[in-house]
Each structure stands twice: as structure tokens, then as C-alpha cells.
């Protein structure tokens, strides 16, 4: 019997493209920021915001908790990398060097089969953006974020930096100083987008940073499923990802936000995501974290309207040399709000998985409900798995429950599977996939396959 591991082509994420860079700025200074802003022909208020953010970045300290970030020297990071192509609307117009990589990652194919629109970012700039005409006719906007600043200034001014303020923490200040590319989505009132929109972020240049900004507004009664994918080839130099996602889900609207993150093992992933949820609206976070050297990612939901709800379906898989510090933050600000969390962590080969959650139920949140569950699986004794939770409850009418567990694969279950003809390695692989299954089934089909593929790749070497 063969393990599924052998059937996987593990090389697609390692594809590198040379000679694709037109312009590169290394380090961080007011001059570099002015140059980026000039390159993008931005209005003056955006440049002012960038310079103000730079000021905050210089003033704020690294966090005194979590993974050690002292290895990061921003002066060595290529903070802006412009590829040799502008934003295109057809794949044929994208140069072959870049298109080949997205082809191998299956993005154009997925677009034809199952997506309503696609954005593809290569290093600091979006190289391809397209959306089905039928959605454009309904008023749906899905454009490169840089384009949105020029074409939809009113919407941008109303929502940009309103969910994630520029002084939130040191690396969000860095993001606002350097943001480039990303997506802007506006779904008008009552419009249901049946197929997902997808943005794919590829960081090709070694020693580079990516600072894309995603802003999504789902207006009253509308629905959207959004998929975010990220990957990069491995280098010896440190790469940095400090993106930002701002989500606004209006009254009676629904948003599902899926992320498969498979950055290379030289990446510091310091991403910030926040969602503001209004009355009767919901946000569903579905996230898989597999890559990066260090990840610090805690998507936040602020439940501001009555009956607002959020759910988190999370999985992280830390292997050798990885420190994945992930989790969530939820604030219940209104009556009858609801949170459901299901988190799975797997660590092996000395990998560190830390799950942090901070749930705050305020005085106004009468009859709110929270159910939080997290499970950790350790595949060897040199790995680490920590669960750090903080729950604050200020209202007596809430129902709050939380459970967590940690452990290894049960010997009895392995014995049972071995008695049915599986080798020990195959049995372990099966159990790990079974452990991840409740999460995988929440991903869109193509991404569930992608996630299984990543799990199998992670297991390769130790299992199979």
C-alpha cells in the first residue's frame, strides 16, 4: 500500500523566477516612502498617512511577548519590489516568467472552474485582476487596492484604517508606511456573490517584504466568500510579510474569509486582520497556517450589532524551525452575539505551535454565547504546543464554555489500524488527516485538497 505522500508534487511552491524585477528599494526611510507614493501617483493624504505611520513604527517597540523578532532588521529588507508588469486583465498579457508560476499554482485554472474573480500579486504589485462581467454589472467592485485609492476615494476615505488603526502595533505601523497592492472589494446591498473571489499573494524576491492591504465591505444583506492564498519560495535571507485585512460586514450580511498560508520557512509573517460585524451579520474565518518561520496572526472580530456572530475554524501545522503563534480576539459589544471557535494545532520536529485567544464579553452583551474548543496534537517530544487563553466576562446572562486538550496519537488507535494492515507510518498519517478533517471540510473544495496536500508534505520525512 502506498502512502499519499509520494503522490504529491512538492516543488510547485519552490518555483523561482529571475529577471522579473523592474525596481527595488531596500530599507526604510522617508525618502523611500515618498518614492513609493510618487511611483503610485497617490494623493497627498495617503503620503501623509504613510509618513505618520513611519513615525509610529520608529516610536513603537517590538512586543515583549510571543516569538523573538529581534532577528528582523528592516534596513536589510527590500521594502518595495516592482515587477516588470503593470496590472493586467487577461492572463495572456502577463509575462511568461510570472504567468508560469501562477499556472503551476493552478490559479488561472481555478479561475475558469470555480471563481468569480481573481487578483494575483507578485512581490509588491498586483499583476492581474479580473472579475466576471455579470458581477460588475450588479455593482460589485473588485480591484487592486492601489487602483481603488484613485477610483473610489470616498469609500476608501470612509473605511481605510477604520478597523485597524495605524498605531495598533509596531508592524501595522510598518504596513501603513509601506502598503502596496492588495484588493478592494465592495459588495452592494443585497447582492449575493455565488462563487468565491480569490486573491493570491506571491513573494518571489529574496530578502523582500510584502505589505498588501485588503479592504472588504459587504453591504447590507449581501454575501461573499473570499479566498486568500499566499506562498513564496525558500531563501536563506529573511523575508517579511506585514499585510493588513480590514473587513466590514454590514447589517444582515455574511462574509466567509478563507486563508491558506504557505509562506516559505524564511518568512516572518506578521499579519493583522480585523472585522467589524453589524446587526444580524456574520463573519466566518477559515484559516490554515502551514508556512513561515515565525507567524504572529490573531484575526479579530468586533461584534457591534445585535445578533452578530463570528466563527473561527483554524488549523496550524508547525514543523522544524517554525514558531507559529496564532489565535484570535473577539469583542462582544451587543446583545445576543455569538462566537464559535474550533482550533487544531499540530507540531512536529521541534516546531512550536502557540494558540492565544482573548474573548471579551462586555456589559451590553446580554445573552451572548461563546463556545471555544482547541485541540493540539504533538508528533514528537522535541516539539512544543502551548495554549494561552484569556476570557473576560462582564455580563451575568452569558453562556461561556471553553475546552482544550493536548496529547499524542493514541497507541491504541495505531495498534488498531496496524491490525487492519496499515504500517505504523500510514496509521499515523491517517490519524493526522482525521484530526484535521473537521477543519478541512470547511474549506472550499479546491482548498481542502490544497490543505491535505500541505499536510501530506509536512508529514513527509517523518511519516511515509
Amino acid at each position: 500500500m502506498k502512502t499519499r505522500v509520494e503522490e504529491i508534487d512538492t516543488n510547485i511552491y519552490e518555483l523561482k523566477s529571475t529577471n522579473t524585477t523592474l525596481k527595488k528599494s531596500i530599507g526604510l526611510s522617508p525618502d523611500i516612502i515618498k518614492e513609493i507614493s510618487k511611483e503610485k501617483e497617490e494623493p497627498e493624504w495617503v503620503l501623509d498617512l504613510r509618513l505618520k505611520a513611519l513615525d509610529y513604527f520608529n516610536k513603537l517597540d517590538n512586543p515583549n511577548w510571543g516569538p523573538d523578532l529581534s532577528m528582523l532588521n528592516i534596513d536589510e529588507i527590500a521594502t518595495y519590489v516592482k515587477p516588470k508588469v503593470d496590472n493586467k486583465r487577461t492572463w495572456e498579457e502577463v509575462p511568461d516568467d510570472i504567468k508560469n508560476i501562477f499556472d503551476k499554482l493552478g490559479i488561472p485554472e481555478d479561475e475558469k472552474k470555480s471563481l468569480a474573480g481573481v487578483g494575483a500579486q507578485f512581490d509588491s504589485e498586483v499583476v492581474y485582476h479580473n472579475i466576471q462581467d455579470s458581477l460588475t454589472k450588479q455593482g460589485v467592485i473588485y480591484v487592486n487596492f492601489d487602483v481603488a485609492i484613485k477610483e473610489y476615494p470616498e469609500l476608501i476615505k470612509e473605511y481605510f484604517t477604520k478597523a485597524v488603526p495605524i498605531m495598533d502595533h509596531k508592524y501595522i505601523a510598518l504596513h501603513y508606511a509601506l502598503f502596496s497592492g492588495g484588493s478592494f472589494v465592495y459588495i452592494p446591498k443585497g447582492v449575493h456573490v455565488d462563487f468565491p473571489l480569490q486573491s493570491y499573494f506571491r513573494l518571489n524576491e529574496k530578502g523582500a517584504g510584502q505589505f498588501e492591504h485588503t479592504l472588504i465591505i459587504v453591504d447590507e444583506g449581501a454575501t461573499l466568500e473570499f479566498i486568500e492564498g499566499c506562498s513564496a519560495p525558500g531563501y536563506n535571507e529573511l523575508n517579511l510579510h506585514a499585510g493588513c485585512v480590514e473587513l466590514f460586514v454590514k447589517k444582515n450580511a455574511k462574509l466567509t474569509f478563507n486563508t491558506i498560508e504557505n509562506w516559505s520557512r524564511n518568512m516572518l509573517n506578521l499579519n493583522t486582520k480585523k472585522c467589524i460585524v453589524e446587526e444580524n451579520a456574520s463573519i466566518d474565518w477559515v484559516m490554515g497556517s502551514f508556512g513561515s518561520k515565525i507567524s504572529m496572526l490573531y484575526p479579530m472580530s468586533i461584534l457591534n450589532g445585535e445578533n452578530a456572530s463570528c466563527s473561527y475554524t483554524l488549523i496550524s501545522f508547525a514543523g522544524n524551525g517554525q514558531n507559529l503563534d496564532t489565535g484570535l480576539k473577539v469583542i462582544h459589544n451587543a446583545p445576543n452575539t455569538k462566537t464559535i471557535v474550533d482550533n487544531r494545532s499540530i507540531s512536529k520536529d521541534g516546531g512550536i505551535c502557540t494558540f492565544r485567544s482573548n474573548v471579551h464579553i462586555g456589559k451590553k452583551a446580554d445573552n451572548s454565547k461563546v463556545s471555544l474548543s482547541c485541540s493540539s496534537l504533538m508528533l514528537d517530544s522535541i516539539s512544543k504546543s502551548d495554549t494561552i487563553l484569556v476570557n473576560t466576562i462582564e455580563n451575568e446572562s452569558v453562556e461561556f464554555s471553553h475546552e482544550a486538550s493536548v496529547g499524542k496519537i493514541s497507541d491504541q488507535v495505531i495498534f488498531y489500524l496496524m491490525s487492519r494492515g496499515y504500517s505504523e507510518e500510514e496509521a499515523k498519517g491517517l490519524i493526522v488527516r482525521g484530526f484535521a478533517e473537521p477543519i478541512a471540510k470547511n474549506f472550499p473544495v479546491e482548498y481542502a485538497v490544497e490543505m491535505n496536500r500541505l499536510i501530506n508534505m509536512e508529514l513527509e520525512g517523518t511519516i511515509g
Partner: protein
């Protein structure tokens, strides 16, 4: 003067604000305060150059009166069950600092600490334990009275040893802070924390419970359960269960539930002709009973039940 007595050994985000709370205490004769950034300061606490020291071989009652504070270091070495009762004799504001030390080797020790201090008296109780070689330590911490209450526990568990910590608290217009940290260091060790409490009348409770599996503690088990009932909208409950796992071959779990009194249970008792206040009392006592039942001294047990009946 403000002191930090209860810093968590694991740092969390600044937004979580659980690493410590500052307490405004009027503590006499302090010669040395642990630096706040010391890694495991839950292990110790404050240090004094003058204190009473007891090597207890029998039950102990510590009485407070006339605004006089007490600083007491208690060593428990012999096998057995010990009741330590903290009692106010008048309604003056006192300060109580108790440090209880155990170093257990292949013995069974049970310590029942009953806090019946008046509602003006601040208390700080620290347990510093080392359990080795099939030793077993059970602590029943019954925190009923007192004003500001800070309780730290630090336990190191080696080879086949056990530490069970059962806590009952009643918050009534006061602040409570629990910082428990049990390290499973040796093989086949068992750590267990059960906390049951109620909060009423504008009280604030913070409970940090850390189950810490150190590499090499194979076949160890750690469990933490906390149940908090909120009786009013002004009280705040913060719980921070931490499960640190650096060993594969272990079983660890924690669970927290917070909310109001179960409606179904209340309805059942009301339908049997019991008044609402009485029904609530029965439900709360039933939660507490599994811990109170661990106390063998019937006089102490009755005293605890009577206090709860009179003060809920």
C-alpha cells in the same frame, strides 16, 4: 503603596492585561520585594525579615484583631491532614501574609486552608510545593472571607507524584486573584486544578491556572476545570487557563465555564416549591460540595457550610 504580587510566568499580549494586577496594600516591615520581571515570581511572593514560623504537626487557627497584621511562614513536613483557619476576631482592617511550604517525599499530605477573614482584611497566601517519589499533595483552598485576596501556588512534581488543588471562592464586593502554576517535571505525574466560585456585588476575579508539561514528563496527566457563576451584572470574571506542553506523551485538558445559574436546574427546584433564593443557594452549594466533601474534619466542614449559607 502599590505592589505586584502575582505576575504570570508566561507573557501575554499587552491587550490581555493578565500578567499582573497592582494591589494597593498597606504592608508593614517590607525589606525586599521581588523584581516584577523575575521569571517565576509566583513561586515566592514578598519576603520579610521578621515573621512567625510554624512547623505544623496539628491544625492551626490564626486570629486577627486590633488592626495588627501577621506574616507567617508555615512548613508542613509530616504526613497527615491539616486545617489552617484564618479568622478575624473583630472588624478592624488587618493584613494577612501566609506562606505555606511543603517538601514531600513519598508521603500524603492534605492541607485545608479556610479563609474566614472580615471584609476589610487583605490577604496574600502563597503555596510553594515540591512533591517527589510517589508523594501526594491535596490542597483545599476555601476562600470565603477577606477583602483583597491574592493566592499564588507553585508546585514542582517529580516521579509519580500528585498535586490536586481544589478552590472555592466567594466574591462579594472585593477583588480576587489566583495565580496557580503546576509543573509536571517527572514521569507519571498528575496535576489537577478544580475551581468553583461565585461573584456577586461588583466583585472582580482573575484566575490564572497553568498546567506546565516539561520535556521528559512522560505519561503525565494534567487537568484544569473552572466554573464561575455570575450573580450580578457588575461583577467581572477573567479566566486564563494556560496549557503549556513540551512533551509528547502526556494528556492535558482544561475547561472553563462562566455564566448564570442553570435555568433548568432552577426551574426544577422552583417547581418543587422551593423559593428562588433557596434554590440558587442549593445549586451553588451542590457545586461547592464536591470540594467541601474532601475535608474530613466535621467541625470545619460545618463551619464552611454555615458560612456559605449565611453569606450567599
Amino acid at each position: 503603596m502599590e505592589y505586584i504580587l502575582n505576575e504570570s510566568p508566561y507573557k501575554t499580549t499587552n491587550g490581555f492585561k493578565i500578567n499582573n494586577i497592582k494591589l494597593d496594600l498597606d504592608i508593614p516591615e517590607i525589606t525586599y520585594l521581588n523584581p516584577v520581571n523575575k521569571k517565576f515570581n509566583s513561586k515566592i511572593g514578598l519576603e520579610f525579615d521578621k515573621y512567625d514560623e510554624y512547623n505544623i504537626t496539628d491544625d492551626l487557627t490564626i486570629e486577627y484583631s486590633n488592626s495588627i497584621g501577621r506574616v507567617i511562614n508555615i512548613n508542613v513536613d509530616d504526613e497527615g491532614e491539616y486545617d489552617i483557619l484564618l479568622k478575624s476576631l473583630d472588624d478592624t482592617k488587618c493584613f494577612s501574609y501566609i506562606k505555606i511550604n511543603t517538601n514531600i517525599d513519598n508521603k500524603k499530605i492534605k492541607i485545608n486552608v479556610i479563609n474566614l477573614l472580615n471584609n476589610k482584611t487583605d490577604s496574600f497566601i502563597a503555596y510553594d510545593n515540591k512533591v517527589n517519589n510517589k508523594g501526594e499533595l491535596i490542597i483545599n483552598h476555601i476562600d470565603l472571607g477577606g477583602h483583597f485576596k491574592v493566592n499564588n501556588l507553585y508546585t514542582e512534581l517529580y516521579d509519580n507524584s500528585i498535586n490536586k488543588v481544589n478552590t472555592i471562592y466567594i466574591g462579594d464586593d472585593n477583588k480576587l486573584d489566583y495565580n496557580y502554576h503546576i509543573k509536571n517535571i517527572g514521569e507519571k505525574t498528575i496535576s489537577n486544578m478544580i475551581t468553583e466560585g461565585i461573584l456577586n456585588n461588583n466583585s472582580y476575579k482573575q484566575h490564572k491556572g497553568i498546567i506546565d508539561f516539561i520535556e521528559g514528563c512522560k505519561k503525565s496527566i494534567g487537568e484544569e476545570l473552572e466554573n464561575c457563576i455570575l450573580l450580578d451584572d457588575k461583577s467581572i470574571s477573567r479566566s486564563s487557563p494556560l496549557l503549556m506542553c513540551h512533551e509528547e506523551d502526556v494528556e492535558g485538558a482544561h475547561g472553563v465555564s462562566t455564566g448564570k445559574i442553570d435555568k433548568d436546574k432552577l426551574f426544577y427546584l422552583l417547581s418543587r416549591g422551593i423559593s428562588e433564593d433557596e434554590a440558587k443557594k442549593i445549586i451553588i452549594l451542590s457545586n461547592f460540595n464536591k470540594i467541601i466533601d474532601n475535608i474530613n474534619n466535621l467541625t470545619i466542614k460545618d463551619m464552611v457550610i454555615e458560612y456559605i449559607n449565611n453569606n450567599i
